[in-house]
């Protein structure tokens, strides 16, 4: 049993210190994923994802990695927040302008700009497969998609990213 599994088991039994260790290990990954996905600081969403993980810790069966389970929760949180957002269309149109102001210095601007031109699923798939180093099957499990669908989304995202990055280079 690896460290994450041991800590997750303790956290599921109510050990807050063990859960704190898990937060320390994975907060960077979860926050980076949400930041790239939404184009702005998403610490509230990340916090909500960790609270959900705490509440439903016993539902993690250990079939995938704990990190992929957490990112899956973060993806669901992101989708729920987007659905709840009544001003979605208005925000989408201002997305690129917001980027210049809110993006963190650790994230490359050109990649973020290229990502901004993708739809949500393409963006998430690209971040998971290229940014977070998940395999296609792990990314499919995180996004709740069949493997074939995920592969075509990644292929589409790859083509559009390449095209956009070439344009940005010029």
């Amino acid at each position: 049993m690896d460290d994450d599994a041991r800590l997750a088991k303790a956290a599921a039994a109510g050990d807050a210190a063990a859960f704190s260790q898990l937060v320390r290990r994975h907060e960077g990954s979860v926050r980076r994923f949400l930041l790239r996905l939404s184009g702005q600081s998403a610490d509230d969403l990340a916090q909500e994802a960790f609270i959900q993980a705490w509440r439903f810790g016993s539902t993690w069966r250990g079939t995938g990695t704990y990190r992929s389970w957490l990112i899956g929760i973060a993806w669901t949180q992101f989708l729920n927040a987007r659905r709840a957002d009544q001003r979605r269309t208005a925000r989408e149109s201002h997305w690129e302008e917001e980027m210049a102001v809110t993006v963190e210095p650790t994230v490359r601007i050109d990649v973020q700009r290229a990502l901004a031109g993708l739809d949500e699923r393409e963006r998430a798939a690209a971040i998971l497969c290229f940014g977070e180093d998940f395999s296609h099957s792990e990314a499919a499990a995180i996004m709740g998609l069949p493997l074939g669908t995920l592969k075509s989304i990644v292929a589409r995202a790859r083509a559009r990213l390449t095209q956009k990055l070439e344009v940005l280079d010029d």
Binding site: F130, R158, L161
Partner: protein, 105 residues
């Protein structure tokens, strides 16, 4: 993995950063609040269940007393039946409980 994939991975690569202790502390606070809320909710339901059980027992006892009162003897004596007194006590108790619960909100 294709060359394009490798290039994209290189572009996406983020430098390793130490854990953000401020964020960890923020999540810890939220978890503690969640634990307290859960404990309060559990205590509230336990208290409610205990009071409900007590009320049911008292009502059942009063109902039995009511049934044991002498019947068909006119309204005056009926007012002195033990069941009536018991119900008056019950309603007073409920009134006090209600006042207490609204006062503590």
């Amino acid at each position: 993995m294709t060359d394009v994939d490798r290039e994209l991975k290189a572009l996406f690569a983020a430098p390793p950063t130490p854990p953000d202790e401020a964020f960890v502390a923020r999540v810890n606070c939220a978890i503690i609040a969640e634990q307290k809320m859960r404990a309060a909710r559990t205590a509230m339901w336990r208290r409610f269940a205990a009071e409900l059980a007590g009320t049911v027992a008292v009502v059942a006892a009063f109902y039995l007393l009511w049934k044991m009162a002498p019947g068909d003897i006119g309204i005056g004596p009926l007012m002195h039946a033990p069941g009536v007194a018991a119900f008056m006590i019950l309603f007073m108790w409920l009134g006090v409980q209600w006042r207490q619960s609204t006062a503590t909100r």
